[in-house]
Structure formats: C-alpha cells, structure tokens
C-alpha cells in the first residue's frame, strides 16, 4: 500500500498540544455563560406554542357540550384509520352528536388532517405530548379523554384562524 501523503503536516505549535487544549477549554468556558436550552424534564415541563401538533382533542364549549356533530370527515380523512365516530340524534339545535368518538392513539400519526378537514373547528391538535399506556386498550381514547374545555385550546384556535 502506498503511503498516504498528508495535505499539510502539523506545525510545531500544533505539535505542542497544550495550546490546543487551552483553545478547547476557552470554548467550553464561553458556553458555560450562554443561556441554557435544556430542561430538567419531567420536573420542568415544556410548554409548546400554538402551532405545536400534540394529540388531537375535541373542543368542549363553555356549556360542557362538544362542538362535534359527528359528520365523520375526520374519520374519513385519517390516513392511519385511527378515528372511529358513531353519530346519534339529540334534541339540541344541532341534531347530530357523537355518541361514540374514539381515537386509537397507537395509530394516530399527529398529521393534523382531522383538524384541517373539520367543518366545525371541533377537533384540534392540543399541546399534550405526554402519551403513555401500559396496554393497547388504554391507547383507545374515548370522549372522556378527548373532550377539553375551549379555554385550554385558545392558543391553537387563534393559530388556526390566523393561518386560514
């Protein structure tokens, strides 16, 4: 094998090694006084901005009712087939409501298409990113886990409206 020729041989200064160590330490010292970006999760929680796509949730109006009319478009558009909706009839002005609304969080890919297609602004992506389950059944979120008061979702709704 032919011996590879270096492009440039080390200078004497570099061969001495110590000055280079000092150079590295200088950089380290500089970083120590820079602002920090890491967080001590889970003691400190990350608070995402409005554009963050966490788990999809259903908007609950002030009166405790869901906005959803169970039109089924989210279920239709969902590329992962994660959403299952069963409509029912009510006496309210909007005569249709979701009797059952389930999202399989094992299937959800957080793409946000359900939110985009929703004609009622009833399903939105929340800031919730903490999803843990110990078995498959727990991963199926029903209305009890999906409904969230509108006050907690204002950020996202403002973001959606400003980007229409």
């Amino acid at each position: 094998m032919a011996e590879k020729k270096r492009l440039k041989d080390l200078t004497l200064w570099e061969k001495m090694y110590v000055p280079e160590v000092v150079k590295g330490l200088k950089s380290t010292m500089k970083q120590m006084f820079q602002p920090r970006f890491t967080m001590e999760y889970p003691e400190v929680k990350f608070e995402p901005v409005g554009s963050y796509r966490g788990r999809p949730v259903l908007v609950m109006e002030a009166g405790g009712e869901e906005r959803c009319v169970a039109c089924g478009l989210c279920s239709r558009v969902c590329p992962a087939l994660a959403i299952e909706v069963q409509a029912g009839e009510t006496d309210r002005e909007k005569e249709r409501y979701p009797e059952k609304f389930e999202i399989n969080m094992l299937r959800c890919i957080f793409c946000g298409l359900c939110e985009e297609v929703c004609p009622e602004e009833a399903i939105v992506m929340s800031k919730d990113y903490e999803l843990t389950f110990s078995n498959r059944e727990d991963a199926i979120y029903g209305k009890d886990k999906l409904l969230k008061p509108i006050t907690e979702l204002q950020d996202r709704i403002d973001f959606l409206r400003s980007n229409k």
């Binding site: 009319v69 169970a70 039109c71 089924g72 478009l73 279920s75 239709r76 087939l81 299952e84 409509a87 029912g88 009839e89 909007k94 005569e95 249709r96 389930e102 399989n104 004609p119 009622e120 199926i140």
Partner: protein, 553 residues
C-alpha cells in the same frame, strides 16, 4: 328510430323520447334533479338546460322531445353558464348542513355543486329559515330548509304509491312541502321518497345518523319480504346490516320497494336471539355442540326410524339450493315421501303495486324442487296421530304459523330444526342447527313470476372471509386489518342449510362434493328442466326468467 347529435355524438332515439331519455339510454349524463325515469316530467328544477342549435333559447332536456337531426350541446359555454346560474340559484337557500345531513356522500346537489357550479356563492344575505325535523309520517323525516322543491316525492305518491298525500304550499322562496290536512305520509311505499329525494330533505327515520354512506359496503341481493323478490342493496358496516335500499330492475320492482320489506326483514340478521352454534338436547336441555357431533347424532338417530316414520319440512324462505338438497336427502337417504312445506300465503294482503299475498320469497322455487305445500296438513296430522315420529324442519318456525302445532310437535320422538333465530320451534327441538340467514349465503330465489334471482352474502359468518370469498368491502374492510377494532366483529358460526345437508349425505355414506352453492345450482340446472341453461353468471344482477314448461305452476 331517429338520430340526434348530443355533444358531437350521434345518438339514436325512439319516437316520443325526450332528449334526456335518449341521452340516458346512450350513457350520456345530463344533470337533473326533478326528472326521474319512472315519474312524470315536471320540468321545474331547470338544471338540465341544454343548448339546441337553431332554437333561440336554451331548452330543458327533460321536457323537449327529441327530433330527427337535432344538434344538442350540453357542455357549450351557454349551457354551462346557465347550469352554473341555476346551481347558484338553488344553493341560495340551501343550508350548509352537509356535516349533519345523512344524504352527504350520495347527494345529487353535493355532486353537482362540485361538477357544475363556480364554487363561490355571492348571496350574503340571511337564508330563508323553515321547519327542520318535521315528522311527515311514521318512517320519514322532513327538513324543509334542505328541500329544493323538485316535487319528486309529490309525484311519487300520486303516481306510484297512488295515494295523494304530499303537496307544495306557499310560493317563491317560502315554498315548502306538507301533507294534506289530516293526512300523513304513511302509504306502504313511503320510504321510497327518501331514495328519490335528490337532497337530504327527506330521510329515513330508521337509518337516521346510523352511518355515513361511505363507511358501508353494499351488496346486491333480493328482498325476503314477499314473493315479489324486489331487488335490493344490503348496506353493511362492521358486519351489521344498517339499511336496505331498492335496486333498479325494470322486470321486477322498477326503482321501488315497500316499507315492510325495507324495515322489517333485515333485523332478524342482526338480532340478539341468533343461534350461534349447533345445539343438542342432552338430559332435557339444549347444550352447545360442534358440527360433527350434530351430524353424527342426527345420522344415528334417524337410522332408528323407518322411512314412513320420518317427515321432512322444507321452506319457501330457504334458497333453491337448500330445498333441492333437502328434497334429494329425503328421497335418496331417508327414502320418505312425507315431504312438504308450509304455505305463507296471507289472503287479501296483496296490492296492485308490488306487495304479493305470499309472504315468502321462494315458494315457486321450492315447489319446482319438489316440495309443495299441499302435503303439509297431512304430515302435521300424521305427527298428531303418531305415524310420523321424527321430523326434519329446515328454516321454518312452525309454532309461529299456528300455536296448536306446539302440542303436535311435542309428540315427536326426534326433531331437527335449522333456524336463524331462537324461536318456539327450536325450543322443542332435539337438535338445533344455526342456519345462515339470507344475507349470509349465496343462493337463488324464484319470484312469483318465475324470475330466478341471486342472493349474495353481505354479512360474514365464521366460515366466510370478506376478501377471500369475494364479498363486497367497505373502505375500512379494505384498508384495515383483522386486528383493528372494526375487524373484531361478531361473526356467527352459522352455515347454509345446503352445506349441512351435504355433510349429512356424507355421513350416511353418500359421497357429495358440494363446496359452493354455485355447484349445487349447476346440479339443479342439470336435473330440473325449468333451470336448464341457467347459472349464476346468466342470472347476474338482474335475474333470469326460468322456462315454465308447465305454465301453471
């Protein structure tokens, strides 16, 4: 036959046909709301406006009679701008209800709004508000805001159902539909208005909000309500029948079906009282068993009786294939002449439209297989007097026909019953076999006029697999897996009666190799002269008339 040109294509027409009829016959689609091939022309929706050369103004295709040499443009700038204007006009007062409207997905207005309008409305004023959720009758719900006043429902009641019940009231944008004072939309065909309504103004109260149309699969089948055999589509989601709709067949039912057939015939299939496995009576109680135990038990028990002591009851509710093999079983294995079926004729229940007196779908078919209803009283009498000691009943609830049969059947030493659901007859049986319902098997029914028509499985049983057995698939069936929640459906371990009788043949030492209903039908076509030359492909979707050699059957 004359010829006219539509969009540069030469099209033939019969004398007296309108442009839209000639176009439809040649497969050219001209948008329309109020025109329906089986109803009179009212010409009020104006969406079928077309340009005809040498005519000063645009004309509606549904009311303009085709003439020799006519040149029609359906897609010229003039025609398109008129159509877009009409669409915009209709949409002025149409609410944006699609998310909650059941019609969404099969709505003509929705489709045309995509295809034929500008997509932009200029009407910013308040829309007309009218009544929503009006119960027009026991089965039909009316939403006045969605109505586009095409008058199809009114004309249907007047012309097809022949009961004047609906009419327009008020004028202009306040026009709405109502029933006449003191009347309801309750004729026996009322639900057909929900099919012909081009929008979601009239909806089926039984099906309301149950499912989106795009989530269901539809299977072509035949109604089991009476011997008319109306062609239907069975709509299924998660292996459950949600609704039936009529399917066009000009030789049988045109576009219609009755409310009884639509609402009452499919509930049995979804019922809680389905028999889910074969059952044998042990020490006085019916216990769950498996199929081979049932076969072995029946074989050994029947061998203890002489052929005169055995009776066989076929059924006009079962298919041709079921009755054929049952008759063959009685003749070749049991060697008994005591074969009959009960009649389901209810005198005076027929009308002049579709409903017939015979409330079973296959009486003629069973009769052609050699099972008649004449002998039935004789057999029941023979059981009463103790001459017949063992009875094989296929898909009939005898006790429901007549309560005195309960005491008679109790006298039997051995009773085998094929049944879809638990009933008073299965309660008396020694062996109960879960029969596949009409929505779970392939087969043939022959209607009152000798039309042999196919039924197809729409609901999967344990031995059926939606994709492997060529059943129709919904979106979720296609893209999901069996491990998904919607794949974990309730499948019943029911089998078609012919398939169980084939097992019995083999157990009695007669080799029969039928694996599909189609093979049984080939055998029927070979041996029964009325069915010569027929097979499942010949019958297809529209059925085939059998050759009634003895015209009077």
């Amino acid at each position: 036959m004359g010829k006219l040109t539509i969009d540069g294509r030469e099209v033939e027409f019969r004398q007296g046909q309108t442009i839209i009829e000639a176009a439809t016959d040649s497969g050219i689609d001209i948008p329309h709301f109020c025109w329906h091939p089986s109803l009179s022309v009212s010409g009020n929706c104006r969406v079928c406006l077309v340009e005809i050369e040498k005519m000063p103004k645009l004309a509606i295709a549904c009311a303009t009679v085709a003439a020799e040499g006519m040149v029609v443009h359906t897609k010229s700038d003039k025609a398109l701008s008129a159509r877009n204007a009409v669409m915009e006009f209709i949409l002025i007062n149409h609410p944006l209800d699609c998310p909650i409207c059941d019609e969404a997905g099969e709505c003509k207005l929705q489709d045309y709004a995509y295809n034929h309008s500008t997509g932009e409305g200029r009407f910013t004023e308040e829309k007309q508000h009218k009544d929503k959720r009006v119960e027009l009758g026991p089965y039909v719900m009316f939403d006045a805001e969605r109505c586009i006043s095409c008058s199809r429902c009114i004309r249907f009641c007047d012309e097809v159902a022949q009961e004047t019940e609906l009419t327009f009231v008020k004028r202009g944008d306040r026009v709405t539909i109502t029933t006449f004072p003191g009347k309801q939309l309750d004729n026996p065909y009322s639900l057909n208005v929900t099919d012909i309504c081009p929008v979601g103004a009239l909806t089926n109260r039984d099906f309301r909000f149950k499912s989106r149309v795009w989530d269901m699969s539809s299977t072509q089948s035949v109604c089991s309500g009476c011997s008319r055999g109306c062609n239907i589509d069975i709509w299924v989601r998660k292996n459950e029948i949600l609704r039936l709709t009529p399917r066009h067949n000009e030789q049988v039912n045109s576009y219609w079906m009755c409310d009884h057939g639509r609402l009452d015939t499919f509930k049995e299939v979804n019922s809680e009282s389905r028999i889910i496995a074969p059952m044998l009576r042990r020490d006085g109680t019916l216990m769950q068993a498996n199929w081979s135990e049932a076969v072995a038990h029946i074989t050994s028990e029947f061998k203890a009786f002489s052929s005169d002591e055995i009776g066989v009851i076929g059924s006009a509710h079962a298919t041709l294939e079921d009755n054929y093999l049952l008759a063959k079983f009685a003749k070749e294995i049991l060697k008994t002449k005591n074969v009959a079926m009960p009649s389901h004729i209810k005198h005076g229940t027929a009308d002049k439209i579709l409903i017939t007196e015979d409330k079973s779908p296959n009486a003629l078919g069973a009769k052609l297989m050699g099972i008649t209803s004449e002998n039935f009283a004789v057999i029941m009498h023979a059981i009463e007097t103790g001459k017949i000691k063992a009875l094989y009943v296929m898909e009939e609830d005898l006790v429901a026909l007549d309560h005195k049969f309960e005491a008679i059947l109790a006298k039997l030493d051995f009773l085998v019953v094929h049944s879809v659901v638990k009933n008073a007859t299965t309660a008396l049986a020694n062996v109960v076999l879960p029969a596949a319902s009409y929505a779970e098997k392939n087969g043939t029914w022959v209607n009152i006029n000798g039309m042999a028509q196919r039924i197809r499985p729409a609901v999967a049983t344990q031995e059926l697999d939606r994709s492997l057995d060529g059943m129709s698939l919904s979106r979720l069936d296609k893209f999901g897996t069996n491990f998904d929640r919607w794949g974990q459906v309730n499948k019943i371990d029911a089998r078609p009666s012919w398939s169980f009788i084939t097992m019995l043949f083999n157990s009695f030492g007669h080799k029969l190799k039928f694996k599909m209903a189609e093979e049984v039908f080939h055998d029927v076509a070979k041996h029964v002269k009325e069915f010569h030359g027929l097979d499942y492909d010949v019958m297809g979707n529209q059925g085939a008339k059998i050759s009634l050699v003895a015209e009077k059957v």
